[in-house]
């Protein structure tokens, strides 16, 4: 399956998170199947690519941003960013939801603790965890 370029996806990050169009222009977006990839390299026409840059969005009923990409561009976001405290951050990184109201529009949000972009969340009156299992905090960690 081929990657096809579609920079329309820049608009999603501008509209949803208030990231400037200038920042988003650093990224070229490529669709393949149900994934959208963000790439900052020079396009090289090699055969049989497995991946290109970083997965930025998943396509389904709507667009779902990836934690990995939000961890890169989240620092430029000006809206729909939920800031949590240290105790909440540990819960969130363990994969737990946070049952609390935040000043954000319903939908996907960027979850942040101080300068650390923790990743994606789904806000609908409470913060529903979207951190992939591979990034979750384990008891043996510090």
């Amino acid at each position: 399956m081929q990657f096809s370029k579609n920079n329309q996806y820049r608009k999603y990050f501008v509209d949803r998170f208030g990231i400037s169009a200038e920042v988003m222009e650093n990224y070229e977006f490529f669709e393949r199947g149900k994934s959208v990839w963000a790439f900052t390299g020079k396009y090289v026409d090699v055969e049989d690519m497995e991946a290109m840059g970083i997965r930025a969005l998943r396509l389904g009923r709507g667009l779902k941003p990836s934690t990995a990409f939000l961890r890169i561009i989240g620092r430029y976001a000006t809206k729909n960013v939920i800031e949590i405290d240290e105790r909440e951050a540990l819960h969130y990184l363990r994969g737990e939801d946070i049952d609390k109201n935040f000043a954000a529009e319903p939908g996907y949000v960027i979850v942040k603790f101080k300068d650390n972009i923790l990743g994606c969340g789904l806000y609908k009156g409470k913060l529903i965890n979207q951190i992939p299992k591979k990034y979750r905090f384990m008891d043996t960690w510090v």
Partner: protein, 302 residues
Amino acid sequence: MDEEKLSYFLQYSSIIPEFDRFMDILKIPQPYWIRVNTLKIQEDKLIKRLEKKGFVFERFGNLNAYKILSMPVKHPGATIEHSLGYYYVQDLSSMAPVFAMNLRPGEVILDMAAAPGSKTTMMAEIMRNRGTIVANDVSLSRIKSLGGNIERLGITNVILLRKDARKDLFGVEFDKILLDAPCSGEGVIRKNPWNFHPANEREHRYLREQQIRMLKNAVKHLKEGGIIVYSTCTFHPLENESVVEYGINKLNLEPVEFDIPISNLKGVDEWMGESYEHYKYFKRIYPHLVDTGGMFIAVLKK
């Protein structure tokens, strides 16, 4: 470490300087090193955070590389900061081939045997996510771990491929190629002594053949005037000097002088009756120089 494994290295007494020190250090577990991912965090900020958690570091020169002297966890990757992609656990010796690449903005690079991605992600960090790195590996499971590291570190200029670097075509020519070739892995024995199985002569020769096949394929995909950085993490000259001399004598590659900011010694000039004319161009990092793993590096120009 068991004596049988250690005694395997006695064959190198004539080629490794300060051989007693070399043998002594093989008995001591290798310390962990980390590389701060400056794409995601400022170096001093990360170090302060980890020190607050109980890590003790020693910085190497002015590099973003730190030796861990002590830590509050069993594995240096068991932290939130690691999960956030703020650092990569990477031996100092494995950073050397990347320094030899002398990367420039906008270049198109092929990393022929890239997984699990320490060098790929380091190249991307130096290139500030610009230019392009085509990172290849033959194994699907290794590609997955490479992809995971690329994602964790926030690398956005890498194209992942799964090809057999010995024979498959990539369809384009590259400015520079890193061939960190699969090898007998003698240089990582301190890191993982349990998995180290000494190779016999036949196995070294088989690996040499595969390394030469990869080198031939690399030459096909290199632009005129471009460079190949050939490296392995083994000491055996058949997999190092012998392969590179083949490249010089049979593939018309030119050896290039280069510098790396890590203590090293020159290549081996002779092994088992085979002499290596260009040994002064090659570099070897031994564990007893700065308490790392082992590495061989050569730079060849087309």
